[in-house]
């Protein structure tokens, strides 16, 4: 048992980057929260990263600026980091550590869970199966989002990922059900302007009272970003599992989160993995992403849309790479499409939704959905290949059929992917796809079964009747 009084240490011996080393700790446990009092009385929060008989390593969320090695006092609380959660959090704004950031009073907690959560027993998970209509054709038609999925947006600097995330949030609905949804928004190191874009967006659509904000802005302490998504997911779990809400968690920007992780790893002088990111980054990211899902016998669900910036648009960079290995697909934005005015600039070829087949088909979307999607993919991929060829040999060298494919690729980008603020139902999306496919000869539609062609093809076999 831990004694009731807690001892204060004045034995800070080493300060480096975000870390402080406290000497001769007694009965301290791994992962517990420390409270650090600076010589001027300022209070900061930290977490124990490593303990031995000689020293405890503490990461300080607010940074070590002005920490000294004589008067700084450290108190260990004996508890892991917890967050006060309540349904009253909806409509409120918190900082990256979960403290109120608006002017209103602290919430009255219904629970105080550990922000690190616990792994969901794979046996207790329920299979995601509900189609979420986002109203965005490139997602609904080709990379369908399913409730309980984690589907990140891979963006590049300057690409409109936030607008897309806002559009998805605004338009998303599950058919048959309305109302019992909530949004948890975790901002890590984004600018005030970006944060305010989301606030306004939610305000305009009247969703503000259904949103919890956790804001760590660009000028807030970097290390706090380690805790931000964990707080957000803890709040989301409370809403989902204690209040049966369907929660959409938007986390932006994961690249900033990973940089904070790298900063701590470097300060600890750990053996670096790729590009200086720690070797355990995969495990660390999965402890966030795997908190999405549904649980058998519970009504709520957690769907995640993490947003990340691919440095130099490089999809093989460790942050998108490790994310892609954990999440159930990805929506990739393309600079090339963006420059050509395609909005949203979703490049469907590298995009993917792994859970798509669980959410589509008869009774969910439509029987032709899988076939149409496969066909559009195959035809567009072929058309894109031809573009490269045209650049070398010119369009005249192509066969008539190949020219049809080339035109298909252009019309697909302009008419299917690009839609600006339009909110399209799945039927509209599939309708546009059929319209585009009808520009190709029917015998080229090898991915679609003959019966479905007869039923849905807008022109084939219809001339006579």
């Amino acid at each position: 048992m831990r004694p009731l009084f807690t001892k204060e240490y004045r034995t800070v011996s080493y300060v480096s980057g975000p870390l402080i080393y406290v000497e001769r700790p007694r009965r301290i446990s791994y992962g517990e929260v420390a409270s650090i009092t600076l010589p001027d009385g300022e209070e900061r929060t930290g977490q124990v990263l490593d303990i031995s008989r000689e020293v405890a390593v503490v990461q300080v969320y607010e940074g070590t600026n002005r920490v000294d090695d004589r008067d700084t006092r450290v108190r260990f609380t004996g508890e892991p980091q917890r967050l006060d959660v309540s349904i009253e959090m909806l409509g409120r704004v918190f900082d990256g550590l979960g403290r109120p950031r608006d002017t209103r009073p602290p919430i009255v907690p219904e629970e105080r869970p550990d922000i690190n959560g616990m792994p969901i027993n794979p046996f207790a998970r329920d299979k995601p199966a509900d189609f979420v209509q986002t109203g965005v054709s490139a997602i609904d038609g080709l990379n369908t989002l399913v409730r309980g999925q984690k589907l990140p947006i891979f963006s590049g600097a300057g690409l409109p990922a936030n607008r897309l995330a806002a559009q998805i949030t605004r338009q998303s609905r599950v058919r048959e059900e309305e109302g019992n949804f909530a949004v948890v928004f975790a901002a890590m190191g984004i600018t005030w302007q970006e944060a305010s874009f989301f606030t306004q967006e939610f305000e305009e659509t009247g969703a503000l009272e259904r949103v919890i904000f956790f804001l760590n802005l660009a000028d807030d302490p970097t290390i706090e970003r380690i805790a931000t998504p964990r707080c957000a997911l803890t709040a989301a779990e409370h809403l989902a599992y204690a209040h049966d809400l369907h929660v959409l968690v938007i986390m932006t920007d994961m690249t900033n989160y990973c940089e904070a992780l790298r900063e701590i790893s470097t300060a600890r002088e750990e053996v670096p993995g790729r590009r200086g990111y720690p070797g355990y980054m995969y495990t660390d990211l999965s402890s966030l992403y795997e908190r999405a899902g549904r649980i058998k016998g519970r009504n709520g669900s957690i769907t995640q849309i993490p947003i990340l910036t691919m440095p130099d648009d490089d999809i093989t960079h460790p942050v998108p790479d490790l994310t892609g290995y954990i999440t159930e697909g990805q929506i990739v934005l393309s600079r090339d499409l963006f420059r050509r005015g395609i909005d949203p600039p979703i490049d469907v070829l590298p995009s993917l939704s792994r859970l798509m087949s669980l959410g589509i088909g008869p009774g969910k979307t439509r029987e032709d959905h899988r076939n149409v999607s496969d066909q559009v993919y195959a035809s567009y991929a072929y058309g894109r290949d031809l573009r490269r060829l045209v650049a070398i040999v010119g369009e005249e060298a192509l066969t008539e059929l190949d020219r049809a494919y080339l035109a298909f690729a252009d019309r697909f980008e302009g008419g299917f992917v690009s839609q600006r603020n339009e909110d399209r139902s799945i039927e509209e999306t599939l309708g546009i796809a059929w319209e585009l496919l009808s520009s190709l000869p029917v015998h080229e539609l090898k991915r679609i079964s003959p019966e479905l062609i007869d039923r849905y093809h807008p022109t084939h076999g219809k001339e006579e009747s």
Binding site: R26, R27, S29, Y30, G31, E32, L49, D50, S52, D114, N116, G117, M118, P119, I120, N121, P122, F123, A124, R125, K127, P128, E270, G273, G279, Y280, Y282, T283, S286, E290, G293, K296, I315, T316, H317, P318, D321, G324, I326, E328, Q330, L349, P350, L352, R354, S357, L358, R370, Y377, A378, A381, Y382, R388, L389, I392, V393, A397, T399, H443, S449
Partner: protein, 579 residues
């Protein structure tokens, strides 16, 4: 029992003092919550321990107890249909104890000790028996589960039990030996003994055309499936788990997604094994140590899995072990190694990575089993590899490549255009072709080898021609080469592409695979022959048989494909006659 105390905690690695006398890989109980761990280094009287559970809340000064035993799994009837975490704790029992989330310090038995099994003795009183001899059998779903004399035990049978028994009940007594219960425990890091290894001369039929027809794997062989994210590693592994012709399948979800395991869990009870008609789940053991579950248990999970696989192999069964993904296992090694402050090798992986990988894959094989009778069993290992950035030059891919017999390289570009399975026919290879040749010639068709070689030749040729097309456009090619491009397109779209989700085409029998290939090549031969006699390629392409070939996979059975092959010849001759 040796007792010590925690002196340092760093993530999953704990240092404990006062444990002098501990052995490497002893299992220890750490702290007040009695978290399970394993000794991985000894330094003076300090033992360094990797802990299989989350160490948050563990403090210095807490007690550590050494059990003196290595990490073991329980082997016996009841393994099939189970779903375990990395250290053989059944997940349904964990859910009973701690709810929907996994908490710490839970201890549950690996197999059900209260369930009764109908034991039918085979050996008789007075028989002299040795390791691996069959004492009797119980029925575990469709499988005749053979209860064997454990390794290292022999003597004359004093008594053999009969009837309804639990796994703890004694099935046999030998003179001068401890009584033998149905359940055995075996240390996971030690391969189970066998009489000798056999040559890999039988294929593991998977029903997947690109695997069976182009890059086959032998029973007892090893294969790797590397690919960037989204290329379909997991779908490939799951397809193999469904359709591979093994008696038992061990599926290890090692550091992968929770929802994918749920998918397998909810799907397998409904899917039926095409060979036995039984639900697939009844031949499956699942190990789910998802990415957010503790790292050290992830490291142990593949050993837990292969030990169970060897147990069924020793009974004389063919076992397929599917590990998704071995990269996550390698990363677990790296993480623990980093915490030990070992000198890193390539990309931070420990220097012993290659040795560990090799030792793991070497536990695969087709073996003559210990004991009387002519039993042979096999463990086939297929490991998915997740190379960072899809770059195959990274250490896990390269070190695995040196060991395995079959290399199924997944290609991101194929995946982008939804060509699935996205196995690259240019980069992949199989070292079992020679040893399986005779089987295919005898069991499928004498010209199987020739057909396969021609297919590979055409596909290689296509790759070369594509480069030319990129420079000068398709029109500049001579007719004969255009014909190659047309036929290889058919090979790609109508033969190699195979939907894992299709009810008809998800599993393609070998005979049909052979005939499909034969039909496409018959079409090519007809095209070449008629063009040699002055028929234009355009006319050949207009033949109705071309569209029929596209329908083979979903709509045609073997006799219909045979008819199709005939009609290709007839139509081609008609074209020539027209001229």
């Amino acid at each position: 029992m040796i007792q010590g105390e925690v002196i340092r905690v760093s993530g999953p690695v704990v240092h404990a003092g006062g444990l002098r006398g501990s052995k490497m890989y002893d299992v220890v109980m750490v702290g007040e919550e009695a978290l399970t761990g394993e000794v991985i280094r000894l330094d003076q009287d300090v033992a360094i321990i990797q802990v299989y559970e989350d160490t948050t809340g563990l403090g210095t000064g807490e007690v550590v107890e050494n059990t003196g035993e290595p990490l073991r799994v329980e082997l016996g009837p009841g393994l099939l249909t189970s779903i375990y975490d990395g250290v053989q704790r059944p997940l349904p029992l964990l859910a009973e104890q701690s709810g929907d989330f996994i908490s710490r310090g839970l201890r549950v038995p690996g197999i059900d000790h209260s369930r009764r099994w109908e034991f039918e003795p085979v050996a008789r009183e007075g028989d002299a028996v040795g390791p691996g001899d069959v004492l009797g059998t119980v029925r575990e779903y469709h499988l005749e589960h053979r209860i064997l004399v454990p390794p290292g035990v022999s003597g004359t049978l004093e008594s053999v039990s009969d009837g309804s028994l639990t796994v703890d009940d004694v099935v046999a007594r030998l003179d001068g030996e401890r009584p033998i219960p149905m359940v055995q425990a075996w240390p996971v890091r030690k391969g189970r003994p066998y009489a000798r290894k056999l040559d890999p001369s039988l294929p593991l039929v998977t029903g997947q055309r690109i695997f069976d027809s182009l890059f086959p794997i032998a029973k007892g062989g090893t294969a790797m499936i590397p690919g960037g994210f989204g290329t379909g590693k997991t779908v490939s592994e799951q397809t193999l788990a469904r359709w591979a012709d093994a008696h038992v399948v061990v599926y290890i979800g090692c550091g992968e997604r929770g929802n994918e395991m749920t998918d397998v869990l909810s799907e397998f009870p409904e899917l039926v094994d095409p060979r036995t008609g039984n639900p697939l789940i009844e031949r499956t053991i699942m190990i789910a140590n998802t990415s957010n579950m503790p790292v050290a248990a992830r490291e142990a999970s593949i050993y837990t899995g292969i030990t169970m696989a060897e147990y069924y192999r020793d009974q004389g069964y063919d076992v397929a072990l599917l590990a998704d993904s071995t990269s996550r296992w390698g990363e677990a090694l790296r993480e623990v190694s980093g915490r030990l402050e070992e000198m890193p090798g390539e990309e931070g992986y420990p220097a012993y990575l290659a040795a560990r990988l090799a030792a793991f894959y070497e536990r695969a094989g087709r073996t003559a089993c210990l004991g009387a009778g002519d039993r042979a069993g096999s463990v086939t290992v297929v490991g998915a590899v997740s190379p960072p950035g899809g770059d195959f030059s990274e250490p896990i891919t390269q070190n695995t490549l040196r060991i395995v017999g079959t290399f199924w390289a997944l290609d991101t570009n194929l995946a982008y255009r939804r060509h699935f399975p996205s196995v690259s026919w240019i980069k992949s290879h199989s070292l079992y072709l020679d040893s399986l040749k005779d089987w295919y010639s005898a069991s499928v068709a004498p010209d199987w080898v020739a057909l396969r070689d021609r297919t590979m030749y055409l596909l290689q040729k296509e790759a070369e021609l594509q480069e030319v097309v990129q420079l000068v456009g398709p029109d500049a090619l001579p007719e004969g080469e255009k014909a190659v491009l047309e036929v290889t397109r058919m090979l790609r779209e109508d033969f190699l592409q195979q939907s894992a989700y299709s009810l008809v085409d998800g599993f393609c029998p070998l005979e049909k695979q052979y005939l499909m290939l034969k039909a496409i090549l018959a079409y090519y031969d007809a095209a070449v022959a008629t063009m040699g006699r002055g028929v234009a390629l355009r006319q050949v392409l207009a033949l109705p048989e071309k569209n029929e070939i596209a329908r083979m996979k979903e709509q045609y059975d073997a006799p219909r494909i045979r008819d199709l092959i005939e009609s290709i010849g007839v139509s081609a001759r008609a074209l020539e006659a027209e001229r």
